[in-house]
């Protein structure tokens, strides 16, 4: 591991200043991704700014059922929070389906959102990778891409975002509260995450020194009818091969509103707006669900070894929405 300076700021302003002053700096939260990548030589910060002492670890539930989740709230504390389980089961389920009991105790909410891709070439410094070393090439297209993106990728990079939690947050229209050198702002998740285009090394719109202080989840009245479902290569302790977070409101026999986000298929949690638009106003039937998800996936660009994700994702969407609405499959 490359030597680094270690700083433990006393407050948010000091953390932001340290982060902004030193270009090669990284914030350290739970460390379960950053320390791992530092050992691999993928992350080589000159300065590690430990944000663990900043507090930012409260979960506030507002009267309408919205949530403000401190950046440092541990994944396990968030997953088991009674209000989260009641108001937004998909959020709790997504967290509980991720990693292991040990990792969830250590991992934080903000760190989870900003974890890096598990693309094998990205993690191996002996291989080219446009994300790690811009311009070096992308071996994944010709090589191991079984778990990489079918949506939103580019010629330069087809990495997937590995977080389960972020998929449920995308479905819930969550925003992140950011404090940076220029002050505070909030970003919707689709503003936070960037698609790779020609610059896969730029994954988010955060600049040096930008610290996520909280995740804000607006009230979702039909969030109680939501679920997260994850398909993986073994029963537990594995990243998703495909996943779906969905919430649905059926009133008077028609879909009044619906939220669908897809995981493990794109460089960011993929909000399925096309599918949602297609479903509103229809009767909730398995065939309507299937037509909607197929509309979403019609723009996919699969490769030989990850084309299986298309029927898999479609099946998971149909089964989750059917279970939530009681539609027969």
């Amino acid at each position: 591991m490359k030597p680094f300076r270690y700083a433990r700021p006393g407050g948010v302003a000091e953390a932001v200043r340290s982060g902004a002053e030193q270009p090669g700096s990284r914030f350290l939260a739970g460390g379960t991704n950053l320390v791992d990548l530092m050992k691999l030589g993928v992350e080589r910060p000159d300065l590690v700014v430990d944000v663990g002492g900043l507090g930012l670890d409260e979960i506030v539930v507002d009267s309408g059922g919205g949530l403000r989740i401190g950046a440092n709230v541990r994944n396990s504390d968030l997953a088991v929070h009674p209000a989260v389980r009641r108001e937004l089961p998909m959020l709790s389920q997504a967290l509980l389906s991720g990693a292991s009991g040990q990792l969830r105790n250590q991992a934080t909410a903000a760190g989870n959102l900003l974890q890096r891709t598990r693309c094998v070439y990205f993690q191996d410094v002996s291989k080219p990778c446009n994300k790690r070393e811009p311009g070096s090439g992308c071996p994944a297209r010709q090589g191991d891409h079984r778990n990489l993106a079918v949506l939103g990728g580019s010629a330069a990079c087809i990495a997937t975002h590995p977080s389960d939690f972020a998929v449920a947050l995308a479905a819930a229209d969550a925003e992140v509260a950011v404090t940076g050198p220029a002050g505070e702002r909030t970003l919707r998740l689709d503003e936070l995450y960037l698609l790779p285009g020609e610059h896969p090394e730029r994954e988010t719109s955060l600049a040096p020194g930008d610290l996520i202080t909280a995740i804000v989840v607006p009230p979702l009245p039909f969030g109680t009818t939501s679920a997260y479902r994850k398909v993986r290569d073994r029963a537990s302790y594995a990243f998703a091969v495909a996943s779906v977070a969905a919430a649905i409101d059926v009133t008077d026999g028609v879909v009044r509103d619906v939220r669908i986000a897809l995981g493990a298929v794109a460089p960011k949690p993929w909000r399925a707006h096309r599918a949602e638009d297609a479903l509103r106003g229809l009767e909730p039937t398995a065939s309507a669900f299937r037509a909607a998800v197929e509309a979403e996936l019609s723009v996919a660009e699969p490769l030989p070894d990850n084309a299986f994700k298309l029927p898999l994702t479609a099946n998971v969407v149909v089964s989750v929405l059917s279970d939530l609405t009681g539609a027969s499959r």
Binding site: M1, P3, F4, Y6, L28, G30, G31, T32, V35, D36, M38, K39, V48, D50, G52, S76, A79, V80, R85, S92, Q93, L96, S97, A99, S100, G101, Q102, L103, N105, Q106, A235, S236, Y237
Partner: protein, 164 residues
């Protein structure tokens, strides 16, 4: 820096790259916690940090100043083995024993989480009164055993859970 391990405060001089696992093993001679993968993928390094199970291989030791670390070495009391240790012995919860300290520390943390009413990915809306086999498997999935002693581990933990 000072590190509090198993209730004892220890003075250490460390490179800030040192993980908690290496601090325990290489600097304090506490070699019970094992290094399997060094990347959070196997659970052999599981310790309790402020009472919660975590993977010591992904924690930088400098971040542990002022926090309480519990390792397998401190688990047995003056009257003998901890109930989880005893159950592993009685039910053949190991073969080579390499994953065992991590399994046991993880189980101690896991039992406490269940006591607090924490659900798991296999828990429905209502948590079962006792730890069922699917619950134990899911909650212990962060600990791999290359020898495949899972049958004994499951029996040991079912036994401990039924007694507590």
């Amino acid at each position: 820096m000072q590190l509090s391990v198993n209730g004892q405060s220890r003075d250490l001089e460390l490179d800030n790259r040192t993980t908690l696992l290496d601090a325990l093993r290489e600097h304090l001679g506490l070699i019970g916690s094992k290094k399997g993968c060094d990347h959070g993928q196997c659970g052999a390094c599981t310790v309790l940090l402020d009472g919660r199970r975590t993977n010591a291989c992904l924690v930088l030791a400098v971040t542990c100043a002022g926090r309480e670390v519990a390792t397998i070495e401190g688990l047995a009391g003056p009257d003998g083995l901890h109930p989880v240790q005893q159950a592993f012995v009685e039910h053949d919860g190991f073969q080579c024993g390499y994953c065992t300290p991590g399994q046991i520390m993880s189980a101690v943390g896991m039992l406490e989480e269940f006591e607090r009413g924490w659900p798991s990915a296999v828990t429905g809306e209502v948590q079962p009164a006792g730890l069922t086999a699917p619950e134990i498997r899911e909650r212990m999935s962060g600990n791999l055993c290359r020898c495949g002693a899972y049958v004994g581990i499951l029996a040991a933990l079912t036994d401990v859970a039924s007694r507590s």
